[in-house]
């Protein structure tokens, strides 16, 4: 079974007193074994919501409205919580949260917290659990004596490695990483990315890598999903989007243009004026049209569907579709 995860027409809304925020509005994609999919977008596009949704943990007041999340062919949305906790979460899919290093409680030792996670999600007896912890600390490049330390004694990079170890030790096949390097310095970030690449090869993992940084995405993802206002606007391989041909959607293009480059003298960094739309009442037609400099009449009237514009490369834009 090469398809590990299949999201089909997922709709997840935040139900507030002011109305339903359509954070995830009909999203579909597939994750194959051993590949890394990047979820790119700015704040508010729904990428973090998608991450927590796949883990069956939407932040309240999030609700699943329709669609499926198939893990190994089984839809996890209707499953009871107990089963998700025992069989799916952390065993099949785990997650490294945004600002994960701050998720470590300051009052308990690293070892204790790691042990707690193991106990929550499995029945491993204590000596086996301890060995597992030491083993995985080794994989992420930390000395086993770290188990006695408290979080404030570790640097940011070390804490992030601990969290990654915690996401891996029950051997999930899929790891969702939400902005895992945001708070880290650039050298530490590069080291963590290298570590992730190594672990991916060593354990045959599949990653869903969520970030707003296109440059970071290019370093680690095989394929890319660009999200805007709760929808996927472009999906394709790393080579297709970053390669010679370039992006197949104006938003991706502008995002790339806004990314500062180290080795290219950029005369004018592009920016996108305006702000993302209100997800309670999104605009008619293409959601990006109000900010798009290439929009024409049809864009404001009809929402373009996500179609294949070349093999393996999808785009939701009238410009790139004929008819």
């Amino acid at each position: 079974m090469n398809s590990l995860l299949k999201v089909e027409n997922l709709q997840m809304h935040y139900v507030t007193s002011k109305g339903a925020v359509r954070a995830i509005d009909d999203i579909s994609f597939e994750l194959m074994r051993g590949e890394t999919i990047g979820l790119v977008g700015e704040s508010g596009c729904g990428k973090t919501s998608l991450g927590t949704s796949i883990l069956r943990m939407p932040t309240p007041p999030g609700r699943y409205i329709s669609g499926k999340i198939l893990v190994d062919g089984v839809d996890v949305i209707p499953l009871p919580e107990r089963e998700v906790r025992r069989n799916i979460r952390w065993q099949k899919i785990s997650m490294v949260f945004q600002g994960a290093m701050n998720c470590l409680t300051p009052v308990y030792t690293i070892g204790r917290q790691m042990m707690e996670t193991i106990n929550e999600h499995s029945d491993l007896p204590r000596p086996d659990a301890e060995n597992l912890i030491k083993e995985y600390l080794g994989y992420v490049g930390l000395s086993p004596e770290i188990v006695q330390r408290y979080p404030h004694e570790l640097s940011g990079g070390m804490k992030q490695r601990v969290v990654i170890a915690m996401a891996l030790f029950l051997r999930p096949e899929i790891v969702i990483l939400d902005e895992p390097t945001t708070a880290l310095d650039v050298i530490v970030q590069a080291q963590i990315i290298n570590l992730l690449k190594k672990l991916k090869q060593q354990f045959g993992l599949s990653f869903i890598f969520i970030t707003h940084d296109l440059a970071l995405e290019a370093e680690i993802s095989d394929r890319l999903c660009v999200m805007y206002a709760g929808k996927i606007v472009e999906m394709g391989s790393n080579a297709q989007i970053y390669g010679a041909q370039g992006p197949g959607h104006p938003y991706t293009e502008r995002l790339l243009g806004a990314t500062p480059r180290l080795f290219k003298k950029v005369e004018q960094l592009q920016f996108i004026p305006g702000t993302p739309p209100d997800l309670i009442a999104p605009p008619k037609g293409c959601r990006f049209s109000p900010r798009c400099n290439k929009a024409f009449d049809r864009c404001f009237q009809e929402e373009p569907p996500l179609v294949e514009i070349e093999p393996g490369h999808m785009s939701a834009c009238w410009l790139h579709q004929r008819g």
């Binding site: 640097s155 310095d185 650039v186 290019a218 680690i220 080579a239 790339l256 480059r261 960094l269």
Partner: protein, 345 residues
């Protein structure tokens, strides 16, 4: 040089760690000082955007605070417009603050949430007792808002900070610095907490403002890529010292210090073909604590090219290479040759 607006000479800032009364008496338990800045010197020219690059622990933020005189230096001197401003009396300090202003990193926290935008912008005028009448003050506020392209100004004046986006708030923060007609701005990571697509907009605005008003900037950041785009010259800091200084393109295209080289290699690029490569960075381990600075060249513990000399001999000073490019590495040319060989072969 009358061309220089800010000059920093051999600046040091040591922090004494917190000790109890008994600890400080019992010398045995005395903790070492934290050497946040350990002797840096640089000049900022009039009308220039000068970048200070470094990771956390490099001392770049502390440098900014010293320049802003939010901290007093342990030793060394700061010159502004030729005048020694290292230690200032209260009145002189107030004058200084009109000329040198700061933009902070967090747009969400740099304004009092209970102040309306109008109050935020009026505050500098009140503090410095500028223009007594309300109409004249309002005019200045409107002008500042227009300067940063927050139009129509009336609409923004009556709002609270939480009603604005991150980018809009940074514009207000910029307007706040401009309202007193400063000569220099210190910007500490002004765009790192803003969305990518808005970053360029803010940097644009800052560049326009700079050209129009002839300001000089001290731009502090860890992001080398924006530095290339935005700055004229940069200084790379490591553990409280400057290891390389020069024009931005020169340093990025031809880095001479191993730390700069590691930094550059660590920066991700949005190009294809990188996924399969696991490039080992030319740098070991993690940054040491500023309370425990390695002897000799302070970078030697992490440097892949370090020799015994690097550890035992005194720390290298900045040496000139070419027109304006300075570096602090005794093996710079050997390393350069070695890298060229690696690339070719």
């Amino acid at each position: 040089m009358t061309d220089t607006i800010l000059s920093v000479e051999n600046l040091k800032k040591y922090f004494e760690p917190h000790q109890s009364f008994t600890q400080s008496i019992a010398r045995s338990g005395q903790k070492k000082p934290i050497k946040a800045i350990d002797g840096i010197s640089f000049d900022i020219r009039r009308g220039e955007i000068f970048g200070l690059i470094g990771e956390s622990g490099s001392g770049k933020t502390t440098t900014g605070k010293l320049v802003m005189k939010l901290l007093e230096p342990t030793s060394g001197q700061i010159f502004f417009n030729g005048e020694d401003v290292t230690h200032l009396s209260k009145e002189k300090l107030k004058e200084y603050r009109r000329k040198v202003q700061m933009i902070f990193q967090d747009p969400y926290a740099s304004m009092n949430p209970r102040f309306k935008i109008k109050d935020v912008l009026e505050e500098p005028l009140i503090i410095h007792k500028v223009r007594a009448t309300i109409e004249e003050r309002t005019k200045m506020i409107v002008k500042a808002l227009e300067e940063v392209k927050l139009i129509p100004p009336d609409e923004f004046m009556g709002r609270w900070p939480h009603m604005l986006s991150g980018g809009q708030r940074q514009r207000v923060a910029t307007a706040r610095t401009l309202i007193l007609n400063p000569k220099m701005l210190v910007a500490d990571e002004p765009v790192s907490m803003i969305d990518l697509s808005t970053r360029a907009e803010i940097l644009h605005m800052m560049k326009d403002v700079q050209k129009e008003l002839g300001l000089s900037y001290l731009y502090i950041t860890h992001d080398l890529s924006t530095a290339r785009y935005f700055t004229d010259r940069i200084a790379v800091m490591y553990l409280g010292r400057i290891v390389e200084i020069g024009r931005a393109e020169d340093i990025i295209d031809n880095p001479l210090h191993p730390y700069t080289q590691a930094l550059i290699e660590a920066v991700p690029e949005p190009v294809t073909g990188k996924v399969e490569i696991i490039k080992e960075l030319p740098i070991y381990g993690e940054i040491p604590s500023p309370a425990n600075i390695p002897q000799g060249c302070r970078f030697h513990t992490r440097c892949p090219y370090a020799t015994d000399a690097c550890k035992n001999e005194p720390e290298p000073e900045l040496t000139l290479d070419g027109e304006e490019h300075y570096h602090a590495c005794r093996r710079a040319y050997e390393i350069q040759a070695e890298r060229k060989r690696k690339q070719a072969g």
